[in-house]
Symmetry: C2
Subunit: 357 residues, 2 copies
Amino acid sequence: MSSTFKIIKKSSKSKARAGILTTPHGEIHTPVFMPVGTQSTVKAMTPEMVKECGAQIILANTYHLSLRPGADLINDFGGLHPWMNWKGPILTDSGGYQVFSLSNMRKITPEGVSFKSHIDGSVHHFSPKSVVELQLKFNSDILMPLDICSPHTATEQDIINDLAITHAWEKEAYLHWKSKDVQNQLFAIVQGGMFTHLRDQSIDFLTQLDFPGFALGGVSVGESRQEMETIIGHSIPKFPENKPRYVMGIGLPENLKFGIEHGVDMFDCVIPTRLARHGQAFIPGGKLTIKNEIHKKDPSPIDPTCACYCCAHYSRAYLRHLFMAKEILALTLMSIHNVHFLVQLVDKMRAGILEED
Amino acid sequence: MSSTFKIIKKSSKSKARAGILTTPHGEIHTPVFMPVGTQSTVKAMTPEMVKECGAQIILANTYHLSLRPGADLINDFGGLHPWMNWKGPILTDSGGYQVFSLSNMRKITPEGVSFKSHIDGSVHHFSPKSVVELQLKFNSDILMPLDICSPHTATEQDIINDLAITHAWEKEAYLHWKSKDVQNQLFAIVQGGMFTHLRDQSIDFLTQLDFPGFALGGVSVGESRQEMETIIGHSIPKFPENKPRYVMGIGLPENLKFGIEHGVDMFDCVIPTRLARHGQAFIPGGKLTIKNEIHKKDPSPIDPTCACYCCAHYSRAYLRHLFMAKEILALTLMSIHNVHFLVQLVDKMRAGILEED
């Protein structure tokens, strides 16, 4: 499976690299920013809008979709792609993170985790195998294994305990996936909290298995930027060179830049669409709050250097008006801009790597 | 100005007619259904989506837009068309209806109406002239005069009193508009409640003035379908033959059919987007409630005979899921379908008139 990823250029100035990852639904040029469509829709956008922003691959979420509308239903529709009208690659998160952040009851055993749905309180069980099976029902191009995403406040001993279970689960997921002999790729998730020696242990354990890709989980969970950079800078260079490297859940421009320079190939984050719904737009060097009085009469687009649909057709004044009037179109237009901004930011960094002498 | 409307075919089976109305922003093929974009956006849709539904002209609202963001601001942007990125014709309602339905304080004098904004309680004044001026600042293709939309519960004497003021206001608006010598067209609004003799009075008074078009107001205000049909059937045939005839605020399929067969050329209604936001979709012969359990696993589109973007790409099951999960895309997709449905329904009736032997 490792042949699905090809590095085509390495930077001489940093650890950055440009590559191509091949999936059943097409090639992904890395580094890549992946917009998130948790409930099988990137919030407030049509799939065509997401594609027009330059997005190559999107995420969906196993926890949410297995609870509602259910994996069997999506499977009956031929998987997530026809279900949601997205023709490109899809990566699904395992749901481990959501079990630990959304569900109000959970019980971990070596066999898996029982939890209550945040929607209706019904009790469900995830096992390493069942989570792989759910994602195969979705026909996800890239699957993630069940893991424990330890909270930022976890002690070293907590993390050691969580890591032992996570490693056993990931091995079980790997063996189950391997036995299926499918084109859908299962990535590993490295955990270990803010402890570099535990991150090393996790990398050592997981790289003994021939996962087609490796992710760094358990960052962007409340730690400082310094702590996040320490963990990324320490861990990513120890990931296999010839496999795609994915840092889960980060998307601020400064984090993307840091990650790419330290050898990360893939990123996802809800931040562009979430910020948009709160009236914030990315601009070069910062963020803009569209409700601010200063934009009331401003005929310029959010970002005059931006080529997105929103910036091509709408003024800050109009967007502010839509927000003040609580119009849904505001959320759509701002989401388009923010997704475009992050996708293009990463694409430009890729172009920079390719253009180096 | 009457030369801007041309009847190209009259039905031999009913009073229906097909025509072409020329405006500064292009031709409108009548009969026509006009989607409503009250606050300078058709709710949950981009202008491109509205156009793809076949819409030729949209409405915006003088009451709402003059309060927020303000007519001067929209004028600074070159009018409503560039402001909201809609290139086709725009009709603006005068705001009379909203003053009487939304504002919680109003005082009518022969000079106009004072009212409190429903947004911030600030006091505003509309006069027959100021309402024309506001709409010229918007650069609306079709303007409507200030009128009193009497409630359905009004007595005959109430209506007589309201009508006297409305007629004086409309004459003042007409003379002011006439003095401006602009291409933007001012239509008359016939009032008179559920009293046919008062409707006759209103038609007699207003047709003495050379308005480029005539509207029937004060329907769809709570009366029965029978009452509405009586008023439409009685009044429309007495409207000038060679001018466009517009019934304000109706959009249910049965009402559109009745109106067209009685010689109506133009319709507007918020119903397609409002129903969509409440999870209801038009289908041939009725309406469908997307949240119903029966759609949970249904792979068919809302309407298999429909050519809209929503029906081309999305199942009832997916739409139901989006609704249950409170996803914004549900509102956009359902709005597309409903606007397309009504626009195409009227277009098909027009084609039927043209195809008669």
